[in-house]
């Protein structure tokens, strides 16, 4: 896959630390993600991946360190802050409402209201406008969602993942964080999600991918950042390593390997 905007750093994390009581979950994590790049975030259980994701998505603001978006330091105190800064997170549990249909989920808390001033004041929803625009953003992702008025409970795992990714991208996110997007999926559906990840990265969106699945990382990522005991211990280009090398980095067997891959 060709990438021509690799030089442009969109997300930079500098020396982030995070403590929960006496426990230091993150003890200095630094890495960069370029525009349109897919970066795998690896690490054993308890290495700090989830905490790091929560810091970047505004759920747990870091204690120390900086997060820079396109070179500018940002303060992310809430998920809304992160969203405004252009960071969307596709959570492991997807953060979708099962009883809602696709459009209702895409527009949750960003609903389009009626143009009539009185109805607008009442909070009257413009269902047609939302359906129309959803169709557009889903077309762009060429995804396999059967119908926009289908409730999420009636969709497969892969389709749910597609809805969550579509929601992230349709809001003009420049950075999409995905937490184990294929963990609950079968082989075919995982492949569909991988396709989707490649598609959005080709559109210039940076993807930070958390996964336990080495195959998945090798197939989709350009680069991998490895966390070990709360620190960023390695930063490698995927084409330079194989699965075994990654595994030994995750388990800490091959020590530190911090190469600037700019």
């Amino acid at each position: 896959m060709l990438r021509n905007e690799l030089s442009q750093t969109i997300l930079e994390v500098k020396e982030i630390t995070k403590r929960f009581g006496g426990v230091e979950a993150l003890r200095g994590v630094s890495f960069k993600v370029n525009k349109g790049e897919v970066v795998g975030l690896l690490g054993d259980n308890g290495a700090g991946k989830s905490t790091l994701v929560r810091c970047i998505s505004g759920i747990h603001p870091p204690d120390e360190g900086e997060i820079l978006i396109a070179g500018k330091a940002v303060k992310l105190d809430s998920p809304m802050d992160a969203r405004k800064a252009g960071i969307e997170t596709v959570f492991q549990d997807l953060a979708i409402i099962p009883e809602f249909d696709v459009v209702q989920n895409l527009y949750l808390n960003r609903e389009i209201l009626s143009t009539n001033p009185v109805l607008r004041w009442l909070g009257w929803l413009d269902a047609k406008a939302m359906a129309k625009r959803s169709q557009k953003s889903l077309n762009r992702l060429s995804s396999r969602i059967p119908s926009l008025s289908e409730k999420i409970v009636n969709l497969s795992g892969g389709q749910r993942q597609a809805v969550a990714i579509a929601r992230a991208v349709s809001w003009g996110a420049e950075i999409v964080i995905m937490d184990e997007p294929t963990a609950a999926l079968g082989v075919e559906q995982s492949a569909q999600v991988n396709e989707l990840i490649k598609l959005i990265s080709s559109q210039g969106v940076a993807v930070l991918l958390i996964s336990h699945n080495m195959q998945h990382i090798m197939e989709t990522c350009d680069r991998a950042v490895v966390l070990y005991q709360g620190r960023s211990s390695a930063d490698v280009a995927i084409r330079d390593v194989d699965k075994n090398a990654l595994v030994s980095l995750i388990t800490g067997a091959s020590g530190s390997l911090l190469a600037e891959s700019a």
Partner: protein, 324 residues
């Protein structure tokens, strides 16, 4: 959340017609036909009797709409019956000193207050709404009994009694107007307004709602205020129709209202609400009550029936949840 089951093309029309959300309509028709057959010499099947049922059921219907708001966010409100009495007593006492508008405002305020207290306690203490509202139910009932001295407080104001009780507008009883207005408001809020959308989101998946930036605590408190406010309105309608307030008003309504809402297809665990179902459900409860009375059954047997209906409705809902 199960990711394994995916039934995308459930196009079998038989399965469609048997969908649980239609259950209420079949049940309604069945009960109506049954009573019409058995009671064909009693005047059951007459417009006058149906109007009578709708008027008697008006407070139940409005409480059912209100409870739908609480259920939408995943709460239950057991205090609604006690708010009925409180609101009626507050209204009746205020009427002795001030005019109708202020008396109504005071009664509604008492409802809003209870809703706020319920909401704050649930959110602050992070305790289930079931327990908190069970507690406030006891407190409010005690207050109503004490304030009223276990006496009825009569209401003689003709405007109050006609506006909230036995008046007519364009040949239609005001109680039917009230019922339809609140049913319409409830329907629009749940289905057309962003507020209802957020209520259902919070009830459907609170973590997801929070992750999408919704202020879930505020939304849940608002839902409980709406619920309590509707109970307060129901209290005023009782006071208007009965021309007085008594601490026993609404006492036995909790079971009826929960049964009506449950049979109407609203999930008792949040996230799925049918306002139309709640209205039809409350009319079904009224219909059954009326039919049982005309058949010569006692209040005890009516209560047993209500209990059975609630259990049936919950059983259907639970089966559906497993299949989903």
């Amino acid at each position: 959340m199960s990711t394994t089951t995916s039934s995308l093309t459930r196009s079998d029309w038989a399965a469609r017609l048997l969908k649980p959300q239609y259950f209420i309509y079949y049940m309604f028709m069945l009960v109506l036909a049954g009573f019409a057959l058995f009671l064909n010499d009693t005047g059951f099947f007459s417009l006058a009797n149906f109007m009578n049922i709708v008027r008697q059921t008006a407070p139940i219907t409005i409480m059912a709409v209100g409870l739908s708001f609480a259920l939408a966010v995943g709460h239950i409100d057991l205090s609604i019956g006690s708010v009925v009495a409180l609101s009626a007593i507050v209204g009746a006492i205020l009427l002795q000193y001030v005019g109708v508008p202020l008396a109504i405002a005071g009664a509604l305020l008492s409802g809003v207050l209870v809703g706020l207290i319920n909401g704050f306690l649930i959110e602050r203490l992070k305790v289930s709404s079931l327990l908190i509202t069970l507690g406030t139910m006891g407190i409010i009932t005690g207050i109503s009994r004490q304030v009223s001295g276990l006496e009825s407080i009569p209401i003689i104001d003709p405007l109050f009694r006609s506006l909230l009780g036995n008046g007519d507008l364009l040949g239609v009883p005001v109680l039917l107007w009230w019922t339809l207005s609140f049913a319409l408001i409830g329907y629009l809020v749940m289905n057309k307004l962003v507020f209802g959308r957020h209520l259902l989101a919070v009830g459907g998946n609170p973590e997801a709602a929070r992750a999408m930036g919704l202020r879930t605590e505020n939304i849940r408190i608002k839902a409980l205020v709406m619920c309590s406010l509707c109970a307060a309105i129901a209290g005023l309608l009782y006071a208007g129709r009965m021309a007085g307030a008594r601490y026993t008003l609404g006492e036995a309504d909790l079971l009826t209202v929960i049964a009506a809402v449950a049979i109407g297809g609203t999930s008792l665990f949040g996230g799925r609400v049918s306002i139309i179902g709640a209205v039809i459900g409350s009319w079904l409860m009224g219909l059954i009550n009326n039919g049982l009375i005309l058949s010569g059954f006692s209040t005890d047997e009516q209560m047993i029936t209500r209990g059975l209906i609630l259990i049936t409705a919950v059983a259907i809902g639970a089966r559906e949840a497993k299949n989903a």
